[in-house]
Amino acid sequence: MSKRKTERLLGLVVCLLSTRRYLTAEQIRDAVPGYPEQDDLFKRMFERDKEDLRDLGVPLETGVNHPFDDDRGYRIRQQAYELPELRLEADEAAVLGLAARVWRRAELAGAAAGALLKLRAAGIDADPKTLDEHSPVPQGIEPRLGTPEPAFGPLWEAVRDRRPVTFSYRAAGRSDPQRRELEPWGVVNRHGRWYVAGWDRGRNATRVFRLGRIAGPVKFCGPSGRVTVPDGVDVRELVRDWDSAPAQEHTALLRVRTGAGVGLRRHAVSVRPDDTAEGWDLVTTRFGDLGWFADYVAWFGSDAVVLDPPDLREAVIRHLKGVLA
């Protein structure tokens, strides 16, 4: 069954590639073996075959040979079908193999392998074993991209096909997920996490969502081509702005036990011994968000004490009491 279908599809591709004229469905049935006699069966099978070829990226064209022809015909223009001529230097071919390995086990791994196969078919050698000596990327560098978020697949398709989507989203710190309708503009990986940026139809505003916080399935809610990415939109920038930590415009003074609080000392402005308390240092450091920094100081337990500012000191005390509550 499956072999017959492969034969038929292959015949269809060869047939349409070798014609300059548009061939009608009837002419195709005559030329390509494997189609049934009954008209309705043929019609259904032919529709499915066309769909399959388009899914593979075969550029199937429809048209008429003369303006007064009744039946539309089909052809594949060789120029639209073929991968253009492509010559790679040895160092370029070497990084190509590395790029294809980046997606191993992730959503686009199959697509990367498919691309590599086509490039090999164009005469390019991307075998890592023979190419490592040419590689500008030294051996031992192995970049990897994962897509553990189930929402990645459908959102990538939505971005690719410019389709609006709907999903339920649990914003940080909220107890209930909320329904969102989004015109997705792009997906971005930042700090190892995937984000989608686009136009939130319900909020009437540009929004960024973290894929890991999408609860349940992502559904398409409109046809392909319905989303327009506005000119000048840079999805990387949108995500960077959404995710970036606030500027570190506040200064804190802490007493930190000698030999401890390595994380606090790492980014300190100054560290000096505390003359009034043996075994302690005075650490001056900068912070952005007070709540975040109070939580962070608590990580160090009894090895770090906030001396100033008072509101930070109060926040840490309140926070520690919360542990005991």
């Binding site: 499956s2 279908k5 599809l9 292959l10 591709v13 060869v14 070798s18 030329a31 390509v32 399959d52 593979l56 990226g57 550029p59 639209a80 079908y81 073929e82 991968l83 253009p84 492509l86 230097e89 070497a94 990084v95 190509l96 790029a99 980046v102 086990r105 686009l108 697509a111 691309a115 086509k118 090999r120 500008p136 990327v137 030294p138 051996q139 560098i141 970049p143 994962g146 971005v159 690719r160 649990r170 940080a172 710190g173 107890s175 792009g186 971005v188 990986n189 700090h191 190892g192 996490r193 999805v235 960077r240 939580d295 608590a298 990580w299 840490v316 005390i317 520690l320 009491k321 919360g322």
Partner: protein, 323 residues
């Protein structure tokens, strides 16, 4: 494997097979089978199928002529199938996104091959390349230090030298000193890691570059023992051992980030957006710190000894504020 290949999947292979052979004039069966990831038998089936393709109208003819006598494949006629199909959007995007990510990898001396390849692929993919601009990967370069460390590691890798690290372990709030024989520099999930044989731990370890406090390339050759085998990072970076202690934590909506940040053995939804997670760890010390950091947003439920530790630690910390 091959039983799962769909008709269209096989068609893709067949369409690539003809130009693969033609661009190489002639090529061995074994080599071709390896390149396509199939057995020689499957390959011969493919070749027979191609050879049998027949068009009936207007006159019957066979568009493809090939032979594989003596294990060498030669395609003598292939009509218009001599070139591979152009790249699909997914295919072009997968390669271009990966290449643009590689450009950002810290510690590369020469990025010109990458830029040249990106330009060539964009040109070859044409319209299919445009969507790839809507997918981006940013590699974290936590600070200039990481870029410098990556360059040092790269140099040590090619010269086969040992490294000395001062490495920050937040869970123990320690700056550790260790000698490491470097094996690989990974970029996993956009974050750079050094993988190597740690002489102090006598085992393979992964080190996050943003936690390296200082790094020196030693004048000592790296000599990892035979048992130093690379970690299969595709299985995940952190693999808990069965001996690890299970810790049960309840998180408020504001504490849910824990489940995103740390690998959890299980995550269960409770009422009101709360979560119950189970972590496994060989060292509960960092969970104590995590609980202090979470405050009201996270509560350790078990083991009971850890619950007591946390109360003690919070009480001790509060005592510092009583004057």
């Amino acid at each position: 494997m091959s039983a799962l290949v769909t008709s269209t999947g096989r068609l893709q292979r067949l369409l690539a097979l003809v130009p693969y052979v033609m661009s190489r004039k002639s090529v061995g069966l074994a080599e071709t089978a390896a390149a396509f990831g199939v057995s020689e038998r499957e390959l011969v089936d493919d070749l027979n199928l191609l050879w049998c393709v027949e068009l009936r109208a207007p006159d019957p003819y066979c568009p493809i002529d090939l032979s594989y006598e003596g294990g060498e494949i030669v395609v003598s006629q292939a009509e218009s199938m001599g070139r591979p199909l152009r790249l699909a959007v997914d295919e072009a995007s997968a390669l271009l996104v990966a290449l643009r990510m590689l450009v950002e990898v810290p510690g590369l001396e020469d990025r010109s091959a990458l830029s040249r390849l990106i330009a060539k692929l964009e040109a070859a993919a044409g319209e299919a390349a445009s969507v790839s601009a809507q997918v981006a990967v940013q590699v974290d370069i936590p600070d200039e230090g990481a870029e410098r460390y990556a360059a040092q590691i790269r140099a040590a890798l090619s010269a086969g030298r040992r490294l000395h690290l001062r490495y920050y372990v937040p869970g123990r709030d320690e700056a550790t000193e260790r000698d490491v024989d470097p094996m690989r520099l990974h970029i996993v999930e956009g974050r750079p890691y050094l993988e190597g044989w740690c002489l102090r731990a006598e085992g393979m370890r992964l080190f996050r570059l943003d936690r390296v406090l200082s790094l020196d390339v030693l004048d000592v050759p790296a000599a990892p023992p035979p048992e130093a085998q690379p970690v299969d990072i595709d299985q995940g970076l952190f693999r808990p051992s069965p001996d690890d202690v299970p810790v049960v934590l309840e998180l408020s909506p504001a504490g849910r980030w824990v489940a995103e940040y740390y690998p959890c053995e299980s995550v269960a939804d409770l009422e009101d957006g709360r979560l119950r997670v189970v972590l496994r760890t060989p060292d509960t010390g960092w969970v104590r710190r995590l609980a202090l950091r979470l405050g009201e947003d996270g509560r350790v439920i078990s083991p009971p000894s850890l619950v007591a530790d946390i109360r003690e630690a919070a009480t001790a910390a509060l005592t510092n504020y009583v004057i």
